[in-house]
Symmetry: C2
Subunit: 190 residues, 2 copies
């Protein structure tokens, strides 16, 4: 991994999470975040439209990575194998910084209905991206929707376990383990 | 069914959906909604905290009905049978008015990110209610989460088909058919 040198975007996220945790989300302004990050207000707005989007800014990247991974899976891959490929591709976006801020980020989101709503729509967006990319492989609608939901559930559980753990492992295997557990549960539904 | 006589709450919802469709969500005020419904502003606020909540006001009722149905399923019911019982109980909340306003409501929500977010959190809340009620039956975590997602997907699909159809059938069978399709898909995931 080497030493990690955050750029302006990462410094803004870290500063925002610190400030939200210290003084609350509502009380924190864009100016304060920029100041704490050591950048100007206009640098903030080059990266994020507002303080709320800063918290879910990774969504587009993640949807893209999920879709790319699914598309790149071999033609003979089953829907769940394609989802696995998407999840593994998306997991490359999660490094030390994601893990470091995750517990505070969850607490901030849980304390604010507006942020919970944004987060819920983000999950729905990830499921939709996965569903669409499976449909493009010719997977039928029910199977695509189901496999996508399994993928999103597996991602959430894998992420939660990974960010709660103190080992410096990769997130990918955690997500795949969660997906296996869900697949086993699906097979047992009868 | 007999002739349906809407009370103040239903008139407020109908008036709001009309106004949102006619002039947009943002341009519509609580005062306009109350006026169109023939009630006072304070009657509005006795029923809803604001115009946004009016659109998702059925969520608590639905979560309660889902949980009640799951809890009332016989002890030997499988997780999906318990979900079926919950969905059938919840489907009793959907009558002619729900069907009448559904297409406009979907269009209004799709046109407004703030409403989409609220709707996404509502779905997450229904899944959480189903998961919790399955956990209380002793269902393990993965199976409960999965069965709950299947239930919410089935509800959404059944509702969409039912509200797009022009026959005056009940919503329950549509939801159950969607759940069966998802269960078949789950079994085929391998």
């Amino acid at each position: 991994m080497g030493r990690w040198q955050p750029g302006a975007r990462e410094r803004l996220v870290l500063a925002a999470v610190d400030l939200f945790a210290e003084q609350g989300y509502d009380a924190t302004t864009v100016v304060q975040i920029a100041e704490r990050a050591g950048v100007t207000r206009s640098t903030f707005f080059r990266h994020f439209p507002d303080k709320r989007e800063l918290l879910v800014a990774g969504q587009e990247t993640m949807s893209r990575l999920l879709a790319e991974g699914v598309a790149a899976a071999p033609p003979e891959a089953t829907p769940l194998e394609a989802v696995t490929a998407g999840l593994l591709r998306a997991s490359t976006a999660f490094g030390e910084m994601s893990r470091e801020i995750a517990p505070r980020l969850s607490a901030i989101i849980a304390a604010n209905v507006e942020l919970e709503e944004r987060e819920a729509l983000k999950s729905a967006g990830l499921a939709a991206a996965l569903t669409d990319s499976l449909r493009e492989r010719g997977v039928d609608e029910s199977t695509a929707a189901l496999a996508a939901e399994l993928g999103v559930l597996a991602f959430k559980r894998g992420f939660a376990e990974w960010s709660a753990g103190d080992r410096r492992d990769d997130i990918g295997p955690r997500i795949i383990a969660a997906l296996h557990a869900l697949r086993a549960a699906a097979a047992a539904l009868g």
